[in-house]
């Protein structure tokens, strides 16, 4: 008698267990074919290739619903003009304004170039350190994300970022920043800015992988990162970066 009761109980528990475990697998498994442990993302930027056309800025705004006003950017392009008298001017490129209407006479220019900028997805991100509510964090695959539900819009992270990569989204009223197009890269696509760049000035990939465009970029170029003295260890590296770039 004792034994029969035990068996029937055991069978019913085992059956419900398999059903439940199946349910849990289906509802809680993330995208089954994407494993963040297998990736660690980074970007390479070739200054010598950037033509300052602003296609990356337009694509980023379209892909990520960044407000159209010219002071909200997840990625942007700076134009550096170093004059013969040593004066350095930095302009933010607005692709809608014709660039020929400019104030420099060519004889004054010593050298000039464009620098695409975006979140450096730092290895040691200052923005994550200062967030008082823990709304921003680094994922396993090395991308810094912001939790919109948790962010209280206090702007600490915007102040803390040495690269000016964050802004306060005027509608959501939370901090917003480049995510390397997390929704695209986890599907195996390229970030929108890399996809549209007409001169391949931006190279995206896995920092660990050698047999990839980013691996080749790192082998073939002399690299530099922005503000290395701050020990933020950016994962966005530049080739052909001028000493005047801040």
């Amino acid at each position: 008698m004792e034994r029969r009761r035990f068996l029937s109980k055991f069978i019913s528990i085992a059956a419900s267990g398999t059903v439940l475990s199946g349910f849990f697998k289906r509802t809680f498994a993330r995208s089954p074919d994407y494993d963040p442990k297998g990736h660690y993302y980074g970007m390479g930027i070739q200054i010598d290739k950037c033509i300052g056309c602003g296609k990356c800025v337009e694509a980023c705004k379209a892909e990520n619903d960044v407000p159209k006003e010219p002071f909200f950017f997840r990625t942007w392009i700076e134009r550096y003009v170093i004059k013969r008298d040593g004066e350095v001017t930095v302009q933010n490129i607005d692709p809608r304004i014709e660039q020929s209407k400019e104030v420099f006479s060519e004889g004054d220019i010593l050298r000039s170039f464009f620098v695409p900028k975006l979140c450096n997805q730092c290895e040691k991100p200052p923005c994550v350190q200062v967030c008082p509510v823990g709304a921003t964090f680094k994922t396993e695959d090395g991308v810094i994300l912001v939790d919109d539900d948790r962010c209280i819009g206090c702007r600490y992270c915007i102040q803390a970022c040495p690269y000016g990569a964050r802004y306060l989204h005027p509608e959501k009223e939370t901090a917003d920043k480049c995510t390397f197009c997390y929704h695209r890269i986890t599907k195996g696509m390229l970030p929108a800015c890399v996809e549209v760049c007409p001169t391949q000035a931006r190279i995206f990939g896995d920092v660990k992988s050698n047999a990839s465009p980013l691996g080749r970029f790192k082998r073939m170029n002399k690299l530099h990162v922005l503000k290395p003295s701050l020990n933020t260890e950016p994962k966005v590296s530049y080739s052909g970066l001028d000493g005047e770039v801040r």
Partner: protein, 246 residues
């Protein structure tokens, strides 16, 4: 029990009450807090899921070549590395619903000059133009195929550029005459038409070779060169390309 409480000194009793209240509030807050505030792992997971679920707007060039054979033609030429969406805009909607939504088809000069307008900050060697000096108002696509934008070949025929004149001249009495009978077109005119100009007849006597009394072709209309409109050049009144050379 009550006696026991009374035996506790008054001051200590108040401290105990305060202690109990503080512990109680702490427990209550812990109970009321939502799970994702207690465990940061949950909010990290939901943020990542939220981020991954965002809609993709740029489909990527692989999606284009699935249907568009002509996109493969772009495999050669200077634009071979450009993504289709660099010029045609975000096209995920079009890839999913090809008949209902169409990508953009930019034909404005301003669109091409976004990349190709002269800017001293652009890398040297990148093809650039000064729009005011480069065939003003003429759409770029008339001479350059954007899918293979090699510089146009030097035209063999005048009509390659002067098609309007060629069509009216075909109906005029001068249809039999080659352009070069009246105009001299130096080789340089074909390469830079605005710097090296073709000539136009500068003397009355030139038209007189056919149209003066008692000379040249018998069927050409004759005038007395001495009395007919003496101080004007012929073509100032008679437009020689028109069907009725009035």
């Amino acid at each position: 029990m009550i006696r026991l409480i009374h035996r506790i000194p008054d001051a200590l009793r108040r401290v105990l009450v305060l202690f109990v209240v503080v512990i109680g509030i702490a427990l209550l807050v812990r109970m009321l807090l939502p799970a994702e505030l207690k465990d940061s792992g949950i909010h990290v997971k939901t943020t990542i899921e939220h981020e991954m679920a965002k809609p993709v707007k740029y489909a990527g060039s692989d999606a284009c070549t699935d249907c568009h054979e002509e996109a493969k033609l772009k495999k050669e030429g200077y634009h071979k590395n450009l993504s289709c969406e660099t010029c045609h805009g975000a096209a995920k909607d079009h890839a999913e619903n090809p008949t209902e939504t169409k990508p953009t088809l930019p034909r404005m000069r301003e669109f091409c000059s976004g990349c190709h307008i002269y800017n001293p900050s652009r890398p040297s060697g990148f093809p650039q133009i000064v729009p005011a000096a480069h065939n003003p108002l003429k759409p770029c696509v008339e001479c350059h195929n954007p899918h293979d934008p090699r510089p146009p070949k030097t035209p063999a025929e005048c009509s390659a550029c002067h098609a309007g004149i060629a069509r009216t001249k075909a109906l005029s009495p001068h249809v039999q005459l080659e352009c070069t009978v009246c105009h001299s077109a130096p080789q340089g005119h074909k390469l830079s038409p605005r710097v090296v100009r073709a000539s136009i007849p500068a003397e009355r006597a030139f038209c007189g070779k056919c149209h003066a009394k008692d000379v040249g072709a018998k069927d050409a209309p004759k005038v007395d060169m001495l009395t007919h409109g003496e101080k004007y050049l012929c073509w100032q009144c008679h437009y020689p390309h028109m069907p009725e050379v009035q």
